[in-house]
Subunit: 285 residues, 2 copies
């Protein structure tokens, strides 16, 4: 690999650039971003070598697309229009169904690998890019059979070198499951933040009482609305289903409290404590 | 200070013991716990020096009560029955109204300081005790005017030496505000865990897709039901109020999604992003 183009030089794209530069010391990393100041910042932070253009992509060995999922629907086909037969393109979006659908009949469909690295932080922009973000993380790859085998191999080699584990899934199952383990927890966190901020308006200094538990639970409420709004839009049906189940569970818990059935309240929590073992499983990966 | 009794040698009591032993090298720390194996463990882990009995408390300079808040209602009056005039007793419970009420007319009320150190982790038991747990944490003290001034000073000196900041509050305000910044986030986390675990029953491997964001949001769902059930019971009215507001905010978010009003979805998140500054404030403490 010689010429690598990163489209979207934020947390996700920038972190790919940082690790790739260490792995392949002779590559040139080009950045493409609609925000000119992000490109300048990415150069200054030694994330990318230089600025690039969509029109230059015929020279690309690899294109990594890491922009909000609504913009991906528009930019991905344009990228495929410009690449050569030997270019592999992968995305990193948190939805997969719409993205796979938009390129379904593109003549260069076999140059695209639909990916979702389960990695990130609540921060965004080039400054948020960090080394080793992808180490020991899961990368979910969708409809792998639609990608040319030779190009798959190129991308998978990179993922392995970055330390990622691969899981194959169809886009429909991906979007349904990720709604539970990622999209819902963002909403629960945002709404928890909202509930407490609203209270704070009337009652000062409530946050002086907040500890590390609150901080952990509300961490995702720092996330970028520009990134998350299109995710919720594209995954609307699944996210609404998870919200329904979450709201019902909260209502049930409230009813148990209202009825004074604290044995049942205890059981609700004890059953859910099982999450310990599950999270230990995550950390073992 | 010479004889210090820790009633409840778990995360909170054990962590007090560890730090106090470093500050006052010549004290003897006695442990009292209804679980004999916790006392043995606490001795083995060098948390306490020896086992004690409620009946010995006349020799105590300081008693720290760190047991679930339902047990506190029963044990605190018994402790006050046994102490000397010079003993200071403080608790560490996450509710304050019922605890202050139960000793309101006790002849030794002025030997008790109602405290709530905002510190802890999702773990419990002697093994969970850690050094420096209280450094830079807030300690909320309720109805300080009910405690003898000389004894207040003794406790406040210790809190300062442990690195804690003090906030004074009345028990009613404490219980109302802590419902928002602590009790609600535990329920939101438990119910998020429940929602995802229920899904997992039918759809295997969903947790392979979970990342650090989910882990952070669901962390409190590892907490001890034995500790949290009595907290929710004692603070029932306030917790139900926070749950109502939280459920309404979630329902509103769901309605916006159903109506396809993603500009409003964006605004919901952007407004709540303000939580960043608030959390930075917490970390500066």
């Amino acid at each position: 690999m010689k010429n690598i183009y990163i489209v979207g030089v934020g947390l996700i794209g920038g972190s790919f650039a940082l690790d790739i530069k260490k792995l392949y010391t002779d590559v040139i990393i080009y950045g493409i971003d609609k925000k000119e100041n992000h490109l300048d910042e990415a150069i200054k932070l030694n994330i990318i070598h230089k600025k690039g253009e969509i029109e230059d992509l015929k020279n690309a060995d690899l294109v990594i697309l890491a922009i909000p999922v609504d913009a991906t629907l528009e930019v991905l086909p344009r990228i495929l229009d410009h690449i050569s037969d030997n270019t592999i393109v992968f995305d990193a979006g948190s939805t997969k169904e719409d993205i796979c659908a938009v390129v379904k009949n593109h003549p260069k469909r076999r140059n695209f690998l639909a990916a979702h690295p389960i990695a990130g932080t609540e921060f965004s922009g080039p400054k948020a890019a960090i080394n080793g973000l992808y180490k020991n993380k899961t990368n979910i790859i969708c409809e792998v059979e639609e990608t040319a085998f030779k190009l798959q191999k190129k991308a998978l080699k990179l993922f392995t070198e970055l330390g990622m584990g691969i899981r194959y899934m169809n886009p429909k199952a991906h979007d349904k499951h990720i709604a539970y383990v990622s999209h819902l927890s963002h909403i629960s966190s945002f709404m928890l933040g909202k509930t407490v901020i609203e209270k704070e308006k009337n009652e000062r200094d409530i946050f002086d009482m907040a500890g590390s538990g609150f901080e952990s639970t509300v961490r995702l409420a720092k996330s970028s609305p520009a990134m998350w709004t299109p995710i919720f839009k594209q995954n609307k049906t699944n996210v609404i289903e998870t919200l329904d189940e979450y709201i019902n569970n909260l209502k049930h818990f409230k009813t148990l409290m209202e009825e004074g059935d604290f044995d049942a309240v205890y059981n609700e929590m004890e059953t859910t404590n099982h999450i310990k073992d599950i999270l230990n499983g995550i950390n073992r990966n």
